[in-house]
């Protein structure tokens, strides 16, 4: 039986949306307030969905303790209370929540071994959220 397990985490970080290839005016037009040179911050919610067969011995897709430990060490510790623009991950790409979502998905996909990484969903504010499943459609096909 294949099931999907989703765990929700929180972190806070600042960023500035600015593209070096655009002029100051273009950046202002495209990013508006988000282009403020001092940056600004958000309380992000991160939802990690992993998938796999329910292990008949444990009843689990993966042990939550393993997922929590991995996310704390490899994601929350890396991004919480940081200025995202100063991190090497965002030296060449704009730290939009789209890009952050993809980055977090790739970390999980590359390094988390206890279950399949299905999807990353991130809320930047209560009014907007982003989802990435490695470019795949989100739901199993009917």
């Amino acid at each position: 039986m294949k099931a999907y397990l989703t765990r929700r985490y929180r972190f806070s970080a600042s960023h500035r949306l600015h593209c070096a290839d655009m002029s100051e005016e273009e950046n202002q037009v495209v990013y508006g307030k988000c282009n403020n040179s001092y940056g600004h911050g958000h309380n992000y919610f991160l939802e990690v969905t992993v998938a796999g067969q329910v292990d008949p011995r444990t009843g689990m897709v993966c042990n939550l303790a393993d997922l929590d430990a991995f996310v704390r060490k490899n994601i929350l510790k890396r991004f919480d209370h940081e200025n995202l623009n100063t991190l090497p991950e965002f030296s060449a790409i704009v730290p939009t929540t789209e890009n952050l979502c993809v980055e977090v998905y790739e970390i999980l996909k590359r390094e988390f071994r206890h279950a399949e990484t299905e999807k990353v969903r991130m809320e930047e504010t209560m009014l907007n959220s982003f989802e990435y499943a490695g470019g795949r459609e989100l739901r199993p096909q009917d």
């Binding site: 039986m1 985490y9 011995r57 009843g59 897709v61 303790a65």
Partner: protein, 136 residues
């Protein structure tokens, strides 16, 4: 195809233990959840069904009927129960969130006639939920 989701809440206690593991293994794997006296959660169940809109009623499913089926087949069975001891399915099956989602699917799927079951989502806490789509 239109999808419709109905929520319900229940409160129950459980503990995680596999008799084939040693007490030390159970403790290492399940941690605090291995406390034999159990612990509880306020669960939220989301049942999503899918179907075509009936041109006469405008419904995918009669919500009143869906609510009654959910109450009878699920809520009355698990609400304010110690899942390991009082729900037959969990005598030999660890009542994890994943297994609850799979089990609730098995209870509801044969009872739905008009709409088809699409997803069972079980929230154990607001920060943890399991989804089951009926996949083998």
């Amino acid at each position: 195809m239109v999808y419709l989701t109905r929520k319900a809440e229940f409160s129950a206690s459980h503990y995680y233990n596999n008799p084939e593991f040693t007490p030390e293994e159970n403790q290492r794997i399940f941690g605090k959840c291995n406390n034999p006296h159990g612990h509880g959660h306020n669960y939220t169940l989301e049942v999503t069904v899918k179907g075509e809109i009936d041109p006469r009623s405008g419904f995918v499913v009669d919500l009143k009927e869906l609510k009654e089926i959910m109450n009878r087949e699920v809520i009355e069975v698990v609400d304010h129960r110690y899942l390991n001891k009082e729900v037959a399915e969990f005598e030999d099956l660890i009542p994890t969130t994943e297994n609850l989602a799979v089990t609730i699917w098995k209870w509801l799927d044969p009872r739905l006639s008009v709409a088809r079951l699409h997803r069972i989502r079980v929230y154990e806490t607001p920060d943890l939920f399991a989804d089951y789509y009926g996949e083998p």
